[in-house]
């Protein structure tokens, strides 16, 4: 369970948000909304421990994430704006390595199966630099298929994806929630997860009074 209480974060001279509190229980999903530059990415990166919050606590199963460190990281998966794939390596190699880094050993067959499910049939062995933008995003997203993390933190997972892939991601998220997983994500495109109550957290633009509002 993820508990955030009274979180405040500022970049440079701008206070992005303050007094932000929420809880996320197994099986729940939350969308972080807001205009460009309202602090969504900053919030997610704070949840990952990359950014130090100005104030407030982030607890995972009751422990502070800065103290849990590796224990917390074993339970979570973050996908950011960047794909974290190597241009020179093939999709297959990329997937196996990134799974390996997060502690999941993957054999070739499993990796290929995952890539195929992401619609990359026939492209598994090409160096990713020749792939299209959407195909590269799919390689990055293939990690969702092979990870056993409980908490998914996804920053605009739908960027560059076509309609078919968007549907696939919706399906994956629904499966994950059904397995009692948790998801926090941002997107500027609509994302519908069937049969789930979607909670939203709206960050208002820094200029017009900092803060977050839960719906």
């Amino acid at each position: 369970m993820l508990e955030v209480s009274n979180l405040a974060c500022s970049r440079g001279d701008h206070r992005l948000f303050s007094g932000l509190s929420f809880e996320l229980h197994p099986g729940q999903i939350m969308q972080v909304q807001g205009e460009n530059g309202s602090g969504k990415t900053s919030l997610l990166r704070t949840l990952c421990g990359f950014l130090m919050p100005d104030e407030g606590d982030i607890l995972w199963n009751g422990g502070d994430i800065r103290e849990l460190e590796e224990e917390y990281y074993a339970d979570m998966l973050y996908l950011g704006h960047l794909n974290a794939i190597k241009d020179e390596l093939s999709g297959l190699e990329n997937l196996r390595i990134s799974a390996g880094l997060s502690g999941v050993e993957l054999d070739e067959k499993e990796a290929i199966a995952a890539l195929r499910r992401m619609g990359l049939k026939g492209r598994e062995l090409l160096p990713t630099k020749v792939l299209s933008q959407g195909q590269r995003r799919r390689v990055a997203l293939a990690r969702l298929l092979v990870s056993d993390a409980k908490l998914w933190v996804l920053d605009e997972p739908l960027a560059a994806l076509d309609v078919g892939a968007v549907a696939l991601i919706q399906e994956l998220i629904a499966e994950h929630l059904a397995r009692q997983g948790m998801v926090i994500f941002t997107t500027h495109q609509p994302l519908l997860v069937s049969g789930m109550e979607m909670r939203t957290l709206t960050l208002t633009r820094a200029g017009s009074g900092a803060g977050g509002r839960m719906a």
């Binding site: 990359f50 130090m52 224990e71 190597k86 390996g100």
Partner: protein, 222 residues
């Protein structure tokens, strides 16, 4: 634990093999710097023999500097470094893996190349042997100290040069003990003490630099 170490080494070596030009560039640079001196200084063998260890060591130091810039910056730009920091294992271990891979790609070839170049300078067989042992002990230290610099300068403009500015002064003891060992051969002084000092430095570096580099990475990612 060591699984991650091996994984990172394997990955970095694989990447280096895909960009073979990088490896070769380092090596060619090394050869070029070393070969330039006989051209510049003239053919007096006595003088060349005296210069040899210094020139070889400085060239090794400079070429390892040349390749250090890319140690973390490529991973930083494409987001892989973020993922590495989220790995549920010790970051120091991972950093050590990257350093080891860097050494294999940019240090080891130099060590293997050095005797060939040493012959150009008319070095004795014994001196060559000591040179190689010294380089074997010393180049990993250069990669490790360089790692700290690479982590500290991550994402900064003027990366390569700033990096060297930070790292070169810290590497001077390695340079001095390394050349000292080779010169001790000709003056008949104790080679072993120089080499054991290098060994001690290596152990020190192995113990501390991965941790320091990991801290530096965390600071740079913020």
């Amino acid at each position: 634990m060591s699984g991650l170490f091996m994984l990172v080494i394997r990955r970095d070596l694989m990447l280096a093999m895909r960009r073979r030009a990088d490896v070769l560039t380092t090596l060619i640079f090394f050869v070029m710097v070393v070969s330039l001196f006989p051209l510049g200084v003239g053919p007096e063998m006595d003088m060349l023999r005296k210069m040899a260890p210094g020139v070889l060591w400085v060239a090794a130091l400079l070429s390892s500097m040349l390749s250090l810039g890319r140690l973390f910056s490529a991973d930083h730009l494409d987001g892989t470094l973020e993922q590495m920091m989220l790995a549920p294992q010790s970051l120091s271990m991972l950093v050590l893996g990257k350093m080891a891979a860097h050494w294999m790609v940019s240090g080891l070839p130099l060590v293997l190349m050095a005797p060939v170049l040493g012959i150009q300078f008319d070095m004795s067989a014994e001196a060559l042997g000591i040179l190689i042992v010294g380089l074997l002990l010393g180049t990993p230290i250069l990669s490790m100290i360089g790692g700290i610099g690479a982590a500290l300068t991550l994402g900064l403009r003027g990366g390569g040069v700033l990096l060297s500015l930070l790292v070169l002064p810290l590497c001077i003891p390695v340079l001095i003990f390394g050349t000292g060992a080779v010169e001790a051969v000709s003056t008949g002084l104790s080679v072993a003490s120089h080499l054991s000092l290098l060994g001690a430095l290596l152990v020190l570096a192995l113990a501390f630099t991965p941790w320091v580099t990991a801290q530096a990475l965390r600071i740079s990612m913020e």
